[in-house]
Amino acid sequence: MNAALRSLGLSGITGNPVAFAVALALMALLLFVPAAHNDYFNLVFRNILMYAAMAYGWNLIGGYTGYVSFGNVAFFGIGCYCSGVLSTHGVDSLLADVALAVAVNALFANLLGRVVLRLRGPYFGIATLGIGVAVAEIIANLDALGGTSGLALHQVDEAHFGVYYYAMWLVALASMLGTFFITRSKVGYAFVAVRENEDAAAALGIPATKYKIRAWMLGAMMGAAAGAVFAPANGFIDPSITFSPDSNVFPIVMTILGGIGTVAGPFIGALILAGVNELLQRYIVNAHTLFFGTMIVLVVLLLPRGLVWLFGLRGGVRAWLRSLTAYRA
């Protein structure tokens, strides 16, 4: 993975300050969405925030620590079910939901990490992919959790709807700022050192495994929190919703699109990707997926280093054109 980020063209750990400023500004802007008093926008942007939080979770382990996980959806899903279980036991408190989800997933990630974080590269990737699939299938087979029929949480009414939005906004903001402060702290530098070269990191006194597990846990907590808010907001959860391929792939795609291993990347990626997807879905009903795919292909070819890199680009168009051939064989 170290090769991966070497070529991001981002020097310094938090990536590009301009991009981060823009991201913060946009995040602040999203605080005013409920002012539109339009449930549709609430939902659209709540989902964007949700994906952003999940993307930040993935970015910590996949982007900063260089362990590419395909299983973070498990944390989101378990987070959802924590709220589900509480709700079926008559507890309808977002705080409780988030608290439980974060605690459970921190523990789960910790235990799991001790096993899977021994693996490297693709082998880690597949092991985590398996975790996602396995957790989903196990839950689908537990009648206690509703099995494939899922769980119906208390019905969402108009009054709550805004609350869920703000809750998700807080989760996303926390994930973004969390990432920012983590990555500027000693811990963050340990993550990146591990990503860049585990042996060299060890030679500098960094216990790699310990920090891998930390990154994995922190990431899990972000995804879990997003799930804990999503479940009651959606009012109903089942394995096909909480462990959907989208919830697994989108955060990764968004992070790559925005810029791996940067603080602004996941959020900007989420905003653009979900935003464009929404517009296509709406105005090109019959072929939106086709256009969506085409757009992704073009973005990768035109901005192989992610959108955030554009902010840091020096030398204008010429430099950009030159950069396009950088990865040719």
Partner: protein, 289 residues
């Protein structure tokens, strides 16, 4: 037994996937889409020109090889040296694109191929064996053997392996990497095409048929060891067997009957995890450098 037979297809799907990943360091999310295209090539030949599916095997290989070659040469090649996640994103986009074009061309209708021999079977030691699946298994074996031979003996094969080991060195020794990559990717797509043809015989055809195979391809090629052809074969068979065994298991937890077949993927992946813990680079995998 069912497991081994089912594993044949998985193996063929996984071999191509594993080659591309192992040699080019590209996780080709469009692999499932290639499988689907292979199936449609076979279907069109069968429906329009009444070509027997088995005769169309080479055709779908060639067609898909061409497609794969072109895609690599003119699209992926622009970012082929980029970090694995970049190409991951690219192929994600490509698969969306291909599947939805297919949806426009062939609609969502499910199609099937009925031949004189489809479904025919023989019984061996009390086990019923469908000819088609047996052939699939044989095909998997033949492909593995041939590929292995080609990779080790032929000039191109050696060039490919050299490239896999060290691009720089390969280039210095006059290997045209871009071309090699295109060939490998074409090969991967071609094998997907072959798999598609065989799947078309034992299952139904529709634009989304490829997706479920992608996940198992992931598991299989890692189970066997990335980039290892025999690995993918063994991985495929093992994976098939695990799932089959899981299906036959039933147990009760807290008064609830849990049937293994509902959990076959979970079981398969848990076994995969165990394998990786003891052999961190898969069954046939080499030690990590």
């Amino acid at each position: 037994m069912d497991g081994i037979l089912a594993g044949g297809v998985l193996a063929i799907v996984a071999i191509g996937f594993s080659l591309v990943w192992g040699i080019m360091n590209i996780i080709n999310l469009a692999h499932g889409a290639f499988v689907m295209l292979g199936a449609y090539v076979t279907y069109e030949l069968y429906a329009v020109y009444h070509v027997d599916p088995f005769l169309s095997l080479p055709v779908s290989f060639v067609v898909l090889f061409a497609i794969g070659y072109a895609v690599q040469r003119w699209i992926i090649n622009w970012v082929v040296r980029a970090p694995i996640l970049t190409t991951f994103l690219l192929t994600f986009g490509l698969s969306l694109l291909i599947v939805n074009v297919a949806l426009i061309i062939w609609t969502g209708d499910r199609r099937g191929i009925e031949t004189a021999y489809s479904g025919t079977n023989f019984t061996l030691l009390g086990v019923t064996v469908p000819w088609v699946k047996l052939f699939t298994l044989v095909a998997a074996l033949v492909i593995t053997g041939a590929l292995q031979l080609w990779l080790t003996r032929s000039k191109t094969g050696r060039a490919i392996r050299a490239t896999a080991m060290d691009i720089g060195a390969a280039q210095l020794s006059g290997v045209r990497v871009a071309r090699i990559y295109a060939i490998v990717f074409g090969l991967g797509a071609g094998l997907a095409g072959v798999a598609g043809t065989l799947i078309a015989l034992s299952s139904s055809i529709n634009p989304n048929m490829g997706d479920p195979f992608l996940i198992s391809a992931f598991a299989v090629c890692v189970l066997g060891g990335l980039g290892s052809v025999q690995g993918a074969l063994i991985g495929g068979l093992v994976y098939g067997v695990i799932q089959a065994v899981a299906t036959s298991v039933q147990f009760t937890v807290g008064g609830q009957l849990i049937s293994g077949s509902g959990l076959s993927d979970a079981v398969a992946f848990i076994v995969l995890l165990l394998v990786l813990i003891f052999r961190p680079t898969g069954i046939m995998g080499r030690a990590v450098a």
